[in-house]
């Protein structure tokens, strides 16, 4: 055994291991064509190194006459391999670009439908109210009620525009999260929501194991809380709106989450609509409305945080007693 035969044996061993690994992990990575080229290249390498080893260890030179053909194949196979890489890259780029344009198209369609559907409804509401104002010009009580109605519709429109603005920001911007103190944001949201509905009797309690909790989030977290609290107030026919906020910790698939529960005494959500309420989005039917764009936006924000959101009944099996919106957001380490 000379040094060259030892080197050739090592080469043969490495190529053999690579070939076996390729067969074992055949289904992974790359397209079929590229893997076939890689397999042929490895087979050629295997033959070359085997021929070298047999020749230099003095066992036999029987493979030598075929080695010339194999040697010519090697650079050609490398060329085909690199060419296949370029083809794969082009296909990937094309797919990405197709996906991007499909998303842009869906987004444009979504905004178009949104304006056609929601803004049209809001304007229709304002128009009807103003027409009724003309007819009831002398009845001050009716006039007051109608102007309240107009005000509500304008506020609805304003919220819608604000939500669309946030949605477009979420779509366009790169995600950047930081450690945010949850209780402070929750308290601010409660104040804002209470000020928005001064005529409602709202009782919101916070039940928490700690004073301070930090999660990885951004400025839109407050929008999430406001949206859920607003829904708890709007969709509630009780004289006193009661919301209990429970904050605890939970571990899911090895990740530490902060669990925030919004338990209300509102109208509740039927079982069939529990998933639907979060689904109004670019790829979904615009007719899925009710709680509106708000909850789909909330879901989008929470999902961006790598968090989870879902809704359960306050009393298991009886949705009419109220809802429990549960949010999991990754804790800041």
């Amino acid at each position: 055994m000379n040094i060259i035969s030892i080197i050739d044996f090592i080469t043969l061993f490495i190529v053999l291991i690579t070939s076996i690994a390729l067969l074992k992990f055949w289904k992974r990575s790359f397209k079929f064509n590229t893997k076939i080229i890689l397999a042929v290249l490895l087979a050629v390498n295997l033959f070359h190194s085997l021929s070298n080893f047999l020749e230099w260890s003095g066992i036999t030179s029987a493979l030598d006459p075929y080695e010339d053909y194999i040697q010519i194949l090697k650079p050609l196979l490398w060329f085909v391999l690199f060419y296949a890489f370029i083809q794969e890259t082009s296909e990937r780029k094309l797919k990405r670009s197709e996906k991007k344009y499909r998303e842009a198209y869906n987004r444009a369609e979504f905004y178009k439908d949104l304006f056609a559907h929601d803004i049209s409804n809001i304007l229709q509401g304002i128009l009807s109210a103003s027409q009724l104002c003309k007819l009831n010009f002398e009845n001050l009580d009716v006039l007051k009620e109608l102007t309240n109605l107009i005000e509500k519709q304008v506020l609805r429109g304003s919220h819608l525009v604000s939500n669309i603005h946030i949605l477009s920001q979420l779509e366009d911007n790169e995600l950047f999260f930081q450690a945010i103190e949850v209780c402070k944001i929750l308290k601010d949201s409660i104040t804002i929501v209470k000020n928005t509905y001064p005529n409602k009797n709202i009782q919101i309690q916070i039940e928490s194991i700690n004073e301070k909790f930090f999660v990885m989030a951004d400025i839109f977290l407050q929008r999430v809380f406001e949206n859920i609290l607003t829904n708890a107030i709007i969709h509630n026919n009780n004289p006193i709106v009661e919301v209990l906020l429970k904050i605890s910790k939970e571990q899911k698939e090895g990740v530490k989450f902060l669990k925030i529960e919004f338990i209300d005494n509102g109208n509740g959500i039927e079982y069939a609509r529990k998933e639907e309420i979060f689904q109004r989005g670019f790829k979904k039917d615009i007719s899925v409305s009710g709680l509106g764009l708000g909850l789909s936006l909330v879901k989008k924000i929470v999902t961006n945080y790598n968090g989870y959101i879902w809704v359960e009944d306050k009393v298991q099996g009886d949705f009419s007693k109220g809802s429990n919106f549960i949010i999991l957001i990754p804790e800041a380490s």
Partner: protein
């Protein structure tokens, strides 16, 4: 006298080398590209040494040539490991985190 087959192999190798240089921007997005390119360069270098061994220091250059063949095989294995095995392991890891 240098065997014709070695010269043809070398010229083909140079052709692939030029192809890589011209298309590097298109290749760049491929995972761990540098490793596989260096595997090819090692092979090309072994071709060059295969020609040189016919001219001088035959035994020494031949040993180096075989070393580069081994390096090429090793780099191909490392590339394969990173692309086929490690990447999938990482993907599985990310599924749970």
């Amino acid at each position: 006298m240098i065997p014709e087959i070695k010269i043809i192999e070398f010229l083909l190798g140079i052709g692939v080398f030029i192809f890589i240089l011209l298309n590097y921007s298109k290749l760049r997005s491929n995972p761990n590209l540098k490793i596989i390119i260096f595997a090819f360069y090692s092979l090309l270098l072994s071709n060059v040494l295969g020609i040189l061994e016919e001219l001088f220091w035959a035994e020494f250059i031949n040993t180096i040539q075989h070393c580069f063949l081994a390096i090429s095989a090793l780099l191909l294995f490392i590339w394969f490991y990173k692309v086929f095995i490690k990447k999938e392991k990482d993907n599985e890891h990310h599924k749970y985190h």
